[in-house]
C-alpha cells in the first residue's frame, strides 16, 4: 500500500504540493487530474525522488521513501513513465529491456560477462510482449514512432516489476485513436499485472471511462477524491476547471 502523509513542497513562495495526504490501495487504478500548474507532476516527482519534499512521508508498505534517491525508490518498487517519453535513443528496444533488467537484478556493474545476460532474457521478452514491442525489438529507440516511444517508456518502468506504476500523461501528444489504444493498454496492464497504477491525464473522457478512483489537485492541494460520478458532480471541481460560470455535468 502506498500512503502519502502530509507531503509538502514549495518553490520560493509557491506551494507546489501543500500538505497532501492520500492512500493508494494495492492493485488500485487512480487518475490524478487538475488544471495546469496544479502540482500533478511535482507530486509524481516527489514520490519518485526527482524532488526532495520539504516535509511529509511517502510510505510504501510501511517504509518511508521520502527524500531518498530515485534508484533507491525504484528498488523499493515504484516505477515511473514520463510525460515526454524518456528513453535511450541509441539502444534498440531489446537492448533497452535487457539492460533495464540487468539494472534491476543489480548486475549493471558486471564487467566480467558479456551483454546480454541469459538470466535477463525472459523478463525482457515478457515486457516487450506485454507492450506489443516484440516485433520492433531490433529498432533503435530513436527510430520508433511517438506512440511506440511512449510504450517503450512504460515498458522500461514495467520491466522492473514495480509494485506501484506512476504514468505521467501516458497519452500526451497522441492522436485520438492512438490515445485510446494507449489507454486500453494501460487498463489491460493494470488488470493483468495486478499492480497499483496511478496516472495523470488531461483527457476527461479517458479519465471518467477507465479510472475507478480520481484525485483532483488544485494549487498543490487535494480538491476532491472519489469515484467518477462523485467527481463529475463536485461543485469545487467544476469551478476549478471552468470558473464560477458553470453548469452541472460540464465535466463529462
Amino acid at each position: 500500500m502506498l500512503e502519502i502523509r502530509s507531503l509538502s513542497k514549495s518553490f520560493g513562495g509557491v506551494k507546489a504540493t501543500d500538505n497532501v495526504t492520500l492512500d493508494f490501495a494495492d492493485g488500485s487504478l487512480t487518475a490524478v487530474i487538475g488544471p495546469n500548474g496544479a502540482g500533478k507532476s511535482t507530486f509524481f516527482n516527489l514520490i519518485t525522488g526527482a524532488l526532495k519534499p520539504d516535509s511529509g512521508q511517502i510510505l510504501l508498505n510501511g517504509i518511508d521513501l521520502a527524500g531518498r534517491s530515485p534508484p533507491e525508490i525504484v528498488r523499493h518498487g515504484i516505477g515511473r513513465a514520463f510525460q515526454v517519453a524518456s528513453i535511450f535513443p541509441s539502444l534498440t528496444v531489446q537492448e533497452t529491456m535487457l539492460a533495464a533488467v540487468c539494472a534491476d537484478q543489480r548486475r549493471a556493474s558486471v564487467m566480467h560477462r558479456r551483454f546480454p545476460l541469459a538470466e535477463t532474457r525472459d523478463r525482457a521478452e515478457h515486457a516487450m510482449e506485454l507492450l506489443g514491442l516484440a516485433g520492433k525489438r531490433n529498432r533503435t529507440a530513436a527510430t520508433l514512432s511517438h506512440g511506440d516511444q511512449k510504450l517503450l517508456d512504460i515498458a522500461l518502468a514495467l520491466v522492473l516489476d514495480p509494485k506501484v506504476l506512476l504514468l505521467d500523461e501516458p497519452t500526451a501528444g497522441m492522436g485520438t485513436e492512438e490515445r485510446w489504444r494507449m489507454i486500453d493498454k494501460v487498463r489491460e496492464l493494470w488488470e493483468t499485472q495486478k499492480i497499483t497504477v496511478v496516472f495523470i491525464e488531461h483527457d476527461m473522457d479517458i479519465v471518467f471511462k477507465i479510472a475507478p478512483e480520481i484525485i483532483v489537485l488544485c494549487y498543490g492541494r487535494i480538491l476532491a477524491t472519489g469515484r467518477p460520478d462523485a467527481i463529475r458532480r463536485n461543485e469545487a471541481v467544476i469551478e476549478a476547471y471552468l470558473g464560477t460560470e458553470h453548469h452541472t455535468g460540464a465535466i463529462a
Binding site: 530515485p70 537492448e95 539494472a103 548486475r107 556493474s109 564487467m111 558479456r114 546480454p116 525489438r137
Partner: protein
C-alpha cells in the same frame, strides 16, 4: 545499427550463455592473433623506425581508447584525461629512479597511485555536468602540470626527469633493449584493448551507454549514475596511465609536456579523427595522427596548420571520424544490397 546488432548480424538476440562464452573465446583468440602478428613484425620488417612507431602507437592508442570510454561510451567529455598519461609517466619514472624496485613492482605501484588520484579527482568531477565536468578536469590537469613544474627537486621541473630511467631486466625481459620493449608494449596494448573491449561489451558497458543517452532515465531504472561514472573514470585513468608508462619507457624519461593540456587535446583530436562510435576508432585515429605528425613535420614547419585543416575536414566535411564513416557506409551498402535482393 548498434554494436550488438552488428556483432550478431542483426539477428534477434539469442541466448547468450554458451554464445557469450564462445564470443569471449573468439575475442581472446583475436587478441592473441593480433599480438602474434605484431610480435612477428620485426622478423619481416627490420626497420627500427617501424618499431618505434608501433611503441608510440601503443602508448597513445591506450590513452585515446581509454578517453573514448569516457567520451564515446559515457558521454563524459574530459579535457584533462592527459593528466593520467603524465601521472603514469612520472609515477613510473620516479619509482624506478628513486626506489630502484623491479619494473613490475613500479608498474603496479604506479597504477595504484593513479587509482587513488583518479578516485579523488573523479569523485569531485563526475558530479558535474557537461562543460563543467570538462573544465574542472582541465583544471585538475593544469594543477598536476603546475605541480610538476614547480616541484623541481622531485620532478626536475621544466627539464623533466633527466638521467634516464633505469630498466633492470626481469624474468629475462630487458626493456632497455628496443626489441624487448617493442614486444612488451605490444603485449600491454593488446591486453589493454582486450580488457577495454570486454568492459564495453559487458552489462556495465551498456549501463554506460544508457547514462550517455539519458542519465536521468538511467537513475529511474535503479542505476547509481554517480558510481558508474566514477568507476569508468578510474578505469579509463588506469589505461591512460599504462600508456604513460609505455611512453616513459620509450623515451627513458618523463617531461612536463606529458601532463600538459595539449596531450588531452591530442586525445580528443585522435578520437575525432578515428571516430567515437566504434571501439577501434581511437586506435585508427592514433595511427592516422602519428603518421600525419611524422610526415607533416618532415615536410613543413607549419604542421599545426596542416593538422588543423585535416581536423576541419573530418569535423565539417565528414562530420564524423573515419571509422564511423566506414561503418556507416558499410551498413548502408548492406542495407541497399538487402533491399535489392
Amino acid at each position: 545499427m548498434t554494436e550488438l546488432q552488428a556483432d550478431q548480424g542483426a539477428q534477434a538476440l539469442e541466448i547468450p550463455h554458451a554464445q557469450a562464452k564462445t564470443q569471449r573465446n573468439r575475442d581472446a583468440l583475436i587478441a592473441l592473433a593480433v599480438f602474434v602478428v605484431l610480435a612477428l613484425l620485426p622478423t619481416v620488417f627490420s626497420s627500427k623506425l617501424l618499431l618505434d612507431f608501433v611503441i608510440r602507437c601503443a602508448a597513445y592508442g591506450l590513452f585515446a581508447t581509454s578517453l573514448n570510454l569516457l567520451v564515446g561510451y559515457t558521454g563524459l567529455i574530459s579535457f584533462g584525461h592527459g593528466m593520467f598519461f603524465g601521472l603514469g609517466a612520472y609515477g613510473f619514472g620516479l619509482m624506478m629512479q628513486k626506489t630502484g624496485v623491479p619494473v613490475p613492482v613500479a608498474f603496479i605501484a604506479t597504477l595504484v597511485i593513479t587509482f587513488v588520484v583518479a578516485l579523488v579527482i573523479g569523485a569531485i568531477c563526475v558530479r558535474l555536468k557537461e562543460i563543467y565536468f570538462a573544465f574542472v578536469t582541465l583544471a585538475f590537469q593544469m594543477l598536476i602540470h603546475s605541480t610538476i613544474l614547480s616541484w623541481v627537486s622531485l620532478t626536475g621541473g621544466d627539464q623533466g626527469l633527466r638521467g634516464g630511467i633505469p630498466r633492470p631486466p626481469f624474468l629475462g625481459i630487458d626493456l632497455s633493449n628496443q626489441l624487448h620493449l617493442y614486444v612488451a608494449s605490444c603485449a600491454l596494448l593488446v591486453i589493454g584493448l582486450y580488457l577495454m573491449h570486454r568492459i564495453a561489451q559487458s552489462p556495465f558497458g551498456y549501463t554506460l551507454r544508457m547514462i550517455r543517452d539519458n542519465a536521468m532515465r538511467a537513475s529511474f531504472i535503479g542505476i547509481d549514475v554517480w558510481r558508474a561514472k566514477l568507476t569508468i573514470f578510474v578505469l579509463a585513468a588506469l589505461f591512460a596511465s599504462t600508456g604513460g608508462i609505455i611512453m616513459a619507457l620509450f623515451v627513458s624519461g618523463a617531461y612536463p609536456e606529458f601532463a600538459y593540456w595539449t596531450i588531452s587535446g591530442e586525445g580528443i583530436f585522435i578520437n575525432m579523427l578515428g571516430g567515437v562510435t566504434t571501439f577501434l576508432g581511437p586506435m585508427v585515429g592514433t595511427v592516422l595522427l602519428l603518421i600525419l605528425n611524422d610526415t607533416v613535420t618532415r615536410l613543413t614547419e607549419y604542421h599545426g596548420l596542416v593538422l588543423g585543416i585535416v581536423i576541419l575536414f573530418f569535423a565539417i566535411g565528414l562530420r564524423k571520424g573515419l571509422m564511423d564513416f566506414v561503418v556507416e557506409w558499410y551498413a548502408q551498402r548492406r542495407n541497399n544490397a538487402g533491399e535489392r535482393g
